[in-house]
Amino acid sequence: MAAPHETDGRCVISFTVNGSPRTVQVYPMQRLLDVLRKELQLTGAKEGCGEGECGSCSVLVNGELVNSCLIPALQAEGARVTTIEGLSKGPHLSALQKAFLNCGGAQCGICTPGMILSASHLLSKNPEPTLDDIREGLAGNLCRCTGYMQIFEAVAQAAKQSIAKPEAERPENRA
């Protein structure tokens, strides 16, 4: 990207990404997905459809699950954004990430970051979901490989874990 220019219409946005304060110079209507992927090199959020159908670009904004392909960058001003990169702490995987590995919840992996964030959001609102809650909670995230069953199993397994939960699942990060 060229150096920011005063008259090129870009604006400065400050927000917190995975716990760290970040400032970027972006076009106000630039998609949050592009800001994360191109400006901040956080490529875990993927573009599957560009129209909010597939959920591969899911991230948490102030604890709420959003399709980052539908959110203009301007809307992230001052917000707390969590991406898949913020879910594990160093080498330590979150309970959900571990469960996805154990249960076969990830196959090709392209939907996995969005799916895990979606599941993480579900568990933050509903720590003991029923199978129907899980089905409904993940219905905005399409997976073409798994047929979902092993993902359901992973979410149920993670819900049972009593181990320390990562940032996105802590109560203080709930909306």
């Binding site: 875990g44 898949i84 076969g104 970051p113 409904e136 073409r144 092993q150």
Partner: protein, 751 residues
């Protein structure tokens, strides 16, 4: 001894990177000075190109522009027949056919520039359906619109009609289906006169792309390097198409001298790339009074789209599978792939078999109805048994017991009790429920002499630190290639799973282990990995530095000693066809597949009388796939395949207009979500198999074959109306129910 690794659910090798977001897919990669590439495509289905003009408001000098005239080699996508141009030069044969390429550093400006290229055409009359293609009123390909024909003949079918108690006829059709991998097609190409061309991409078959780029770019094998990066789903959709997009990016990279990234957006991917071949199957079957098949004719036709691509091979598999898991004493099967002016149809999990097996399994229920026996009984009486021969006269040598599979599937699905319950409850219920069965087979590996021609090579490398690397061009795109091939090598070398890794598929680094298709990776490539690993061990034993019975630590020391003394330690294995295997390519007779996977699936459906929507309530998938090498991954393959099969049956309809897909978005092309699917219950039965690594057969495609017929059989059972097409949408059910009710009303009026 270490614990046995084969047969356990070893964790996915690249799983950690996938759950942390660290895995790098093609669109996650950037290169210094990189341009973005885009394609200008045909807006018409068929015609000649008159002129190309450029909107003067754009600074075209800033763009790299490539037309057919810039192609250094042959203007084709080298595959089977070289009939498909990389860029249309004077004629276009389908909507979205690529004509011109643009590259620019600003992807947003690039998008606008694509619309600023105006192409004038003289239209020619297009052909959009198989029937019109067959009529030859317009010849759009070759001399007769036919890409390929096959004829399978067994016994004397002309003799059976006279002695038949029943002659049962049916016609069955299946629609196009989009693979809908969540990651669209994409590549990055980079060219340097000294180094040559390097292509990184989301793809299944590095050596297919390698071959295509050599021909297109007029480069020698050493000057083309193809690297597969993490691939976000493929399902066949990244078998042949990557050669096209790779060709485009390469031409732009060669002309601009800069790396070029081309990644399609969803709309372009859906409109321009391949889909499952639409099909039409006609059955005419002679049956005796007991419901036993005496013989029959099967006519299987697929719509190949505008160019030959893989249609001949899809047709081959579909034709061979058309007789299903049954014994045909006499049969004549004709297969035909015809041309239409739509984008070429291509590989999609199952590869022709889901189409012809849908027909076979619907037809079995029709035979049952005509004869007056149950769908269970008709299958029982016609199942192939060991010692009998398939339609290609391949002797079944596997110890398969299909009746046992059927019985277990009926028990697991509680078939009989549920069927009785639904028969009792349906008349007074708003939900019409039904049960449906599909019994079927899927051949593992390339057809006939295919594996012999491929002559795949696999390498295993022992490293100085005692770890081992598997060297194959077989790719991971979710199925578990990395994991299972590492399990096999670890098992063969008595090493912990963690000591084995797999090289990134890179044509400069790995031998050609063949394409990652046809449910061949575990069975064929896996067996070669086992051989190559044994070879590695033998080298160390022959050098006197390892005993045949060794611990992992002893292996580590021996490996280290060998590498420090002799340098690189590698062992290779090449495929050799088993002796006594006979296949006649002319007559389509003989051993079509090294082995078959077998299955019985049972679907329970409910059709809502108000909305006419059909939903699957329960699904039992029971299969015999030889030894299950990794239970979690194997289950994942089956569940995922069944989910795609449910989509194929009930949701996924490609809407065509003038040869172009009209609903090329995830908003209006509907695949199953987590809320749409029933419990998919997976069971394995191991009946023993001599082929494959540690007894494993192919598994990836099998689950795509059974769901559509099982579901449509169940809907037919629920409503007592025969449905013979998929996808079967609520509007189709509504129409059929309306017609039936009005007929019933008319009938009532006459009395």
């Amino acid at each position: 001894m270490t614990e046995q690794i084969v047969g356990t659910s070893a964790p996915r090798k690249e799983g950690r990177d996938k759950v942390t977001g660290a895995a790098r897919y093609i669109d996650d990669i950037s290169m210094p000075g990189m341009l973005y590439g885009a394609t200008v495509r045909s807006r018409i289905p068929r015609g000649t190109i008159n002129s190309i003009s450029y909107d003067p408001r754009f600074e075209w000098g800033e763009f790299t522009t490539v037309t057919a005239h810039d192609i250094p080699g042959k203007n084709c996508i080298a595959l089977i027949l070289d009939d498909q141009p990389c860029l249309a030069e004077s004629k276009v044969n389908h909507p979205e056919e690529p004509i011109l390429l643009l590259a620019h550093e600003d992807p947003y400006l690039l998008r606008a520039a694509v619309d600023a290229v105006a192409i004038e055409y003289d239209s020619l009359p297009p052909v959009f359906c198989m029937e019109k293609s067959e009529s030859r009123s317009q010849v759009i390909w070759g001399t007769d619109n036919v890409f390929k024909k096959f004829l399978i003949e067994k016994g004397d079918v002309d003799e059976v009609w006279a002695s038949a108690e029943y002659i049962v006829e049916g016609e069955y059709t299946t629609g196009a289906q989009e693979q809908l991998y969540i990651e669209n097609n994409g590549v990055i190409a980079s060219f340097d006169a000294a180094q040559g061309l390097t292509l990184w991409g989301s793809l299944q078959c590095p050596y297919y792309v390698h071959k295509a780029l050599m021909a297109l770019c007029n480069l020698s094998a050493e000057k083309v390097r193809v690297v597969q990066v993490e691939t976000g789903g493929a399902f066949g959709g990244k078998e042949e198409y990557p050669s096209m997009i790779a060709g485009h990016a390469s031409l732009l990279a060669m002309k601009s001298g800069r790396p070029v990234k081309m990644v399609y957006d969803r709309i372009e991917d859906m409109a321009a790339t391949t889909k499952r071949h639409p099909s039409r199957t006609r059955h005419r079957t002679a049956v005796n009074k007991n419901g036993e098949i005496l013989g029959g004719e099967i006519d299987f036709t697929i719509d190949g789209g505008a160019y030959a691509t893989l249609s001949s091979v899809v047709l081959s598999r579909g034709t061979i599978h058309a007789g299903g898991a049954y014994h045909w004493p006499n049969v004549r099967i004709r297969g035909k792939a015809v041309a239409t002016n739509t984008p070429p149809h291509g590989a999609f999990r199952g590869f022709g078999a889901p189409q012809s097996l849908f027909a076979m399994e619907r037809h079995m229920d029709r035979i049952a109805q005509v004869v007056g026996i149950s769908p269970i009984e008709v299958r029982r009486r016609n199942f192939l048994k060991p010692g009998q021969t398939t339609t290609t006269e391949q002797v079944i040598r596997e110890e398969i017991d299909l009746e046992k599979l059927l019985d277990r599937a009926l028990e697991l699905s509680d078939y009989t009790a549920k069927k009785a319950k639904f028969t009792f409850e349906n008349p007074a219920s708003a939900l019409q429920r039904g049960m449906g069965i599909a019994a079927f087979l899927h051949g593992s590996g390339f057809t006939g002499s295919g594996e012999r021609y491929l002559a795949s090579v696999v390498g295993v490398e022992g490293c100085a630190d005692g770890t081992v690397r598997v060297l194959v061009s077989s790719t991971e795109f979710g199925q578990g290639t990395n994991t299972v091939l590492c399990q096999i090598a670890a098992e063969a070398l008595n090493l912990p799973y963690e000591s084995v890794s797999i090289a990134q598929p890179d044509t400069d680094q790995v031998p050609n282990s063949g394409p990652t298709v046809a449910s061949r990776t575990v069975m064929v490539v896996g067996n070669l990995v086992r051989s190559a690993a044994s070879g590695l061990k033998q080298t160390l034993i022959a050098s006197g530095i390892l005993h045949s019975s060794h611990s992992p630590e002893e292996f580590r020391l021996a490996c280290g000693r060998h590498v420090s003394g002799h340098g690189v330690l590698r062992s290779f294995a090449r495929y050799e066809a088993p002796e006594g295997v006979f296949w006649d390519d002319e007559k389509y007779r003989g051993e079509a597949y090294a082995s078959f996977a077998w299955a019985v699936y049972v679907a329970e459906v409910a059709v809502d009388r108000t909305s006419y929507s059909a939903t699957v309530q329960d699904f039992v998938a029971l299969q015999e796939v030889g030894r299950v090498l990794n239970p979690v991954l194997a289950q994942g393959q089956i569940i995922g395949g069944v989910a795609q099969g449910i989509g194929f049956a009930l949701y996924e309809k490609v809407v065509w207009k003038n040869g172009r897909m009209q609903n090329g978005q995830m908003t209006n092309y509907i695949m199953p979500t987590s809320a749409d699917l029933p419990p998919i219950r997976v069971f394995f039965e191991e009946m023993g198999n001599v082929h494959g690594a540690y007894g494993a057969k192919g598994i990836g495609e099998l689950p795509m074959d059974g769901p559509a017929p099982a579901i449509v059989n169940a809907i037919t059972d629920a409503l007592s109306i025969a449905f013979d097409s998929v996808p079967l949408l609520p509007e189709d059910i509504f129409e059929a129910v309306s017609k039936t009710s009005s007929r019933e009303l008319l009938g009532a009026g006459k009395r």
